[in-house]
């Protein structure tokens, strides 16, 4: 089978399956389970197909170039080590799917569960198969994300939400550190390719940046693998459905951390720093987890802490800087996955059949579910390290390593075997507690459900896993031997040491330690009986030391207290201080730039003053001053004055031969005036509270300060403009565009060719932003409630209505209808004319002033004009403008034109032009950019109309709405969405 097929299917299948499962109906429990099971099994088959290659020490590779210039490829790589993990992910995945089919209740949205599970499976496979470090970090974060969704699957319970949030916060933050670490590592090596990285161990270890890279990467690995002091998220994550725990918290998610450490072990381990960080974290986690696990009341909590402890054991082995310990670590990863997954499933069965996981309420289940009890007994014995089971083998290897560890610190060598024995004794004690508490003793009383054996297929995955524990435990070399050998060789290369996988090594010190641990564990459990029966949840002495509480305190500080303080210090609900802050920052930035680079006179001599333009400018400047002066107390007057200023600006553009700009400026001016007038109606009155009025001197000071800011900002802006305009511009881009506009863009209007062709991608982005802005404005206005002082009907309307009502021969609305008779006739006649101008501007835009944006504004002005004079009801009864559809079509057209280039084998957004021979018209220049421009046109029409109409519809709302025909109301709904 080709490599590419194997690797790509292993990654793509679960993600595709997740999408399909997500689309299934909510109650399609069996369909989703079949789908997920089939995908997990076919993944397993694909992984198996790669076995012949990797068993010979080969590596299956496939790379798809993505950004070769940056050294970023989508690269997949499977060696023996990755093969082992991929097999674990898909194999345990298949068992978990089968188990989950029976575990999940029919009331739960099961397809969603399988969708998340499959997506997680894909992300995890992505982590183990990544041949590129950046890609690995990406899939790493994906696993955090999907584990968040899986843990929070029962999002109606607070525990699930909090557990999911905590897991995401801790592991995703770790992932971010990992990403930074990977970048540093890539900087050291000069490549992100895993093969290159694995070949440059010497360079990495001797580099000055080794320690930062190590710490960052380890932060990622240790948070993911729930190592002390980041272990607290794992017990909280037990709020997940049990299949999730069996999968994520035994075989996959938490193993990602140790996978990464083992993957980078050949190049990063072997230093004192590695030994101290990894070894300390490992030994602390090993002891702490095992100790705390004894005192858990929740069976899943017990298993969670036991998992933490076993992960600590693996981490410690990795931290010992010895090749043999590395082999033991890989072996224990496998063993732990089998017995812990089966134990989680057994707890799930107990929970499912009895309704509780509380160890105090459970007892004597051996009689009601004997088969499950025996399975759990074997798995727990493997966890405790009883001989003839797989847990015993890796534990013996661990003891041997603890005895022979090499380090310069002698006292550690004495402590390590002691710690190993103690942790092992603890694990015997909690395994005993698990089995004895749940399955032995008197019959249980007042359980939520009557316990009985689960369905046979629900027990089947447990049976498979327990069988694996036994077979590996008895015949290690014949069963797991070749795979372990392959993985160890792939991870360690030529440095792989000789090791022996046998049950019996003769009478040795490790065997003695095992014996001591077993005896001490049993004795500890018997000795603790009294305390365990009465003690509350949690271990003695360490109860007040709670990582979770510290985490929560930190979160409260960061997301609440700190945020509040910052808001109090910097925030304001008034617009003026915010603007002041922005302007001050701008002034500062400009001042710094001037300070650094200087602002001297330019090289272009100013031309003489045109008296006419000067005259017009005096008027315009006066309008601008007036607008600023009146802005506070006479909003309408300020708005009118702004119109005058805008007009003068427009004339100025024409004067300096920029007809395109002038057209745009004029239309924007008109639309803005209407927009502001629409908003003006709903603005609250000035905040004028005499109680908070400040002393005269304070007010004066404030005004002086604001005046200074305003003058310096204005003067700075003017100086900047003067500085730019008195310099001859760099001739690079302008010349380029001028020279190529016709030959390559097919248009003589360079501005338009730049917009729709040379910089078409920018335009596409801009219109997307425009669409988003329009939608946001619409969404905000849907829930808009005006200020109390602007709710009432305007005075003019009340007067006119009163006048109409006072006369028997008139009905309400007659006055306004009379007054608007002439304008309404005129505007209706003008409507087609304006639309014609819009079409004209659009079509000729490529060669002469005009284009999609200007044409779109023109068309929307035509529509708004009808709204203004005819009224909302009149227009919407006659003219249907669905703005959302206009926007959607526009965006699709513009993006589609860009995509179409792909079908001709050209890069995205390449445009095409030629001359079409049309009947009557003759040779007509046509460019694909015109279609793009039509898209821009449609979007601008849609966006402008959507915003203005959403504002206008405020007047039709609520008590102000007048009764109208049902047809009209339907039309209005179509235009305005829902109201």
């Amino acid at each position: 089978m080709p490599d590419a097929l194997i690797l790509l299917s292993s990654i793509a299948l679960p993600f595709l399956g997740a999408i399909v499962a997500g689309l299934l109906p909510t109650h399609a429990r069996n369909a989703a389970a079949w789908l997920a099971g089939a995908i997990a099994l076919s993944m397993l088959a694909f992984v198996w197909a790669a076995y012949p290659t990797v068993a010979d020490g080969g590596v299956v590779r496939h790379a798809i170039p993505w950004m070769p210039a940056l050294g970023l490829d989508f690269s997949l790589r499977m060696d023996g080590f990755a093969w082992l993990f991929a097999g674990l992910v898909s194999g345990v995945g298949a068992l978990v799917v089968l188990y989950a089919r029976y575990y999940m209740s029919a009331e739960d949205p099961v397809p969603r569960f399988f969708a998340f599970l499959l997506a997680f499976m894909g992300a995890m496979t992505g982590v183990v198969l990544s041949g590129n470090l950046v890609q690995l970090a990406f899939f790493w974060e994906l696993t955090s994300l999907f584990s968040f969704l899986l843990i929070g699957y029962w999002h109606h319970t607070a525990a699930a939400r909090e557990g999911a949030r905590m897991a995401l916060t801790v592991t995703a933050t770790g992932g971010l550190c990992l990403f930074a670490g990977v970048l540093v590592l890539g900087h050291i090596v000069g490549s992100y390719d895993l093969d290159v990285v694995l070949a440059s161990g010497e360079r990495i270890r001797s580099h000055a940046l080794y320690l930062p890279a190590l710490i960052l990467i380890l932060l990622g690995a240790l948070t993911k693998s729930a190592q002390f002091p980041f272990h607290f998220w794992l017990p909280q994550a037990m709020a997940a459905p049990t299949p999730v725990s069996a999968y994520l918290h035994s075989a996959t998610l938490v193993k990602a951390g140790v996978f990464l450490m083992a993957r980078l072990w050949p190049v990063m381990a072997g230093t004192e720093a590695w030994f101290w960080i990894v070894g300390t974290a490992g030994v602390a986690t090993l002891l702490l987890g095992a100790y705390v696990a004894i005192f858990q009341l929740d069976l899943k909590g017990l298993l969670a802490y036991s998992t933490i402890s076993h992960l600590g054991l693996i981490t410690l082995l990795l931290g010992l800087n010895s090749e043999l310990a590395m082999v033991a670590a890989i072996f224990h990863i496998l063993n732990h996955a089998t017995f812990k997954a089966s134990l989680f499933m057994a707890v799930g069965i107990i929970d499912h059949e009895t309704g509780t996981r509380d160890i105090r309420r459970l007892s004597g289940l051996n009689r009601s579910m004997p088969f499950t009890a025996r399975l759990a007994l074997v798995a727990a014995a493997a966890m405790a390290g009883v001989p003839l089971l797989n847990g015993f083998l890796s534990k013996e290897m661990f003891f041997a390593e603890a005895l022979s560890a090499q380090t310069s610190q002698l006292f550690l060598l004495q402590i390590l075997p002691l710690a190993a024995t103690a942790a092992s004794a603890f694990s015997v004690a909690y395994s005993l507690r698990f089995i004895h508490g749940a399955f032995f003793g008197p019959d249980p009383t007042d359980l939520p459900r009557t316990p009985h054996e689960p369905p046979a297929w629900m027990r089947f995955p447990v049976e498979i896993l327990v069988l694996a524990c036994i077979i590996v435990g008895i015949l290690p070399a014949a069963t797991v031997g070749p795979f372990l050998d392959m993985a160890a060789h792939a991870a360690l290369g030529a440095a792989t040491p000789d090791y022996s996988l046998a049950v019996w090594h003769g009478f040795s010190l490790p065997l003695l330690m095992s014996f001591i641990a077993l005896t001490a564990g049993v004795a500890l459990y018997i000795g603790l009986q009294k305390q365990l029966r009465s003690a509350p949840d949690g271990p003695p002495m360490l109860r007040s030391f709670d990582g979770r509480r510290m985490f929560e305190r930190a979160m409260v500080f960061l997301s609440w207290r700190l945020a509040r303080t910052l808001e109090r210090l910097l925030g304001t609900r008034r617009l003026q201080p915010q603007l002041r802050l922005l302007v001050c920052v701008a002034i500062l930035a400009g001042a710094i730039a001037v300070q650094v680079r200087g602002l001297g006179p330019g090289n272009v001599m100013p031309s003489g003053i045109d008296p006419v333009l000067a005259l017009v400018w005096v008027g315009g400047a006066a309008c601008a001053f007036g607008a600023a002066w009146l802005a506070k107390f006479h909003r309408l007057a300020a708005l009118i004055l702004l119109g005058g200023t805008g007009l003068v600006t427009c004339v100025t553009f024409v004067w300096f031969s920029a007809p395109d700009l002038a057209l745009t400026q004029l239309l924007v001016e008109v639309v803005t005036t209407i927009l502001l007038l629409l908003g003006l109606r709903w603005l609250p009155k000035r905040i004028d509270n005499p109680a908070t009025r400040q002393a005269e001197v304070v007010t004066l000071t404030r005004r002086l300060r604001d005046l200074t800011i305003a003058i310096s900002a204005g003067a700075g802006m003017a100086g900047l403009a003067y500085g730019v305009m008195t310099r001859s511009p760099p001739e690079l881009l302008a010349q380029h565009f001028l020279a190529r506009a016709y030959t390559e863009g097919g248009g003589t209007n360079v501005v338009n060719v730049i917009l729709v062709d040379f910089r078409g991608f920018d335009t596409l982005g801009e219109i997307t932003v425009l669409a988003a802005v329009a939608l946001v404005a619409y969404a905000l206005l849907r829930r808009f409630r005006p200020a109390p002082d602007s709710v009432e009907i305007p005075e003019q309307q009340r007067d006119q209505s009163a006048y109409d009502e006072a006369r028997p021969d008139r009905s309400e609305g007659d006055t306004v209808a009379d007054w608007l008779l002439v304008p309404s006739v005129l505007t209706r006649l003008l409507f087609p004319v304006i639309i014609l101008v819009a079409a004209y501007l659009l079509l000729r835009g490529h060669d002469q002033p005009g284009g999609g944006f200007v044409a779109g504004l023109t068309a929307s002005i035509a529509i708004i004009l009808q709204y203004m004079i005819g009224g909302t009801h009149w227009v919407e009864d006659r003219l249907r403008v669905p703005p959302l559809r206009w926007m959607g079509v526009g965006l699709l057209l513009a993006a589609g034109t860009g995509l179409a280039a792909w079908f001709f084998g050209r890069p995205f957004m390449t445009s095409y032009f030629s001359y079409l021979g049309l009947p009557l018209l003759g040779e007509v220049p046509t460019a694909s950019a015109l279609v793009f421009d039509i898209g821009v046109f449609a979007l601008v029409v849609g966006a402008t109309v959507l915003i203005l109409i959403a504002l206008a519809h405020q007047s039709v709302r609520g008590q102000r709405a007048v009764p109208r025909s049902s047809e009209g109301r339907a039309a209005a709904t179509r235009v305005a969405g829902d109201d």
Binding site: A622, G626, V654, W655, L663, P823, M868, V956
Partner: protein, 93 residues
């Protein structure tokens, strides 16, 4: 001779139109009523249209004619909106 005459008359026309805009701007600022200001703005638009036409004659280009056309066609919309606002207190109802 004719060219010089045309040149001078265009300059004078532009100066007067500029003055006209100045007068409109004065009305815009002084008011006193809002209606006066709106009327001032409309006058300004009309003057600007003329100014652009004369500018087109001066440079002999037709591009400016179109800008003038658009002002003539759409400039009144702002005036209409302001008038409607003054009359009814709302632009669109």
């Amino acid at each position: 001779m004719t060219a010089a005459l045309l040149g001078w008359s265009i300059l004078v026309a532009q100066l007067f139109l500029g003055l006209g805009m100045g007068c409109a701007a004065f009305r815009l600022m002084r008011g006193p009523r809002a209606q006066d200001r709106v009327l001032g703005l409309d006058t300004m638009y009309v003057n600007a249209t003329m100014l652009l036409l004369t500018f087109g004659i001066r440079t002999g280009s037709t591009h400016y004619f179109e800008a003038a056309l658009v002002i003539a066609l759409l400039g009144f919309v702002a005036t209409a909106a302001l008038a409607k606002f003054l009359m009814r207190g709302e632009v669109i109802e």
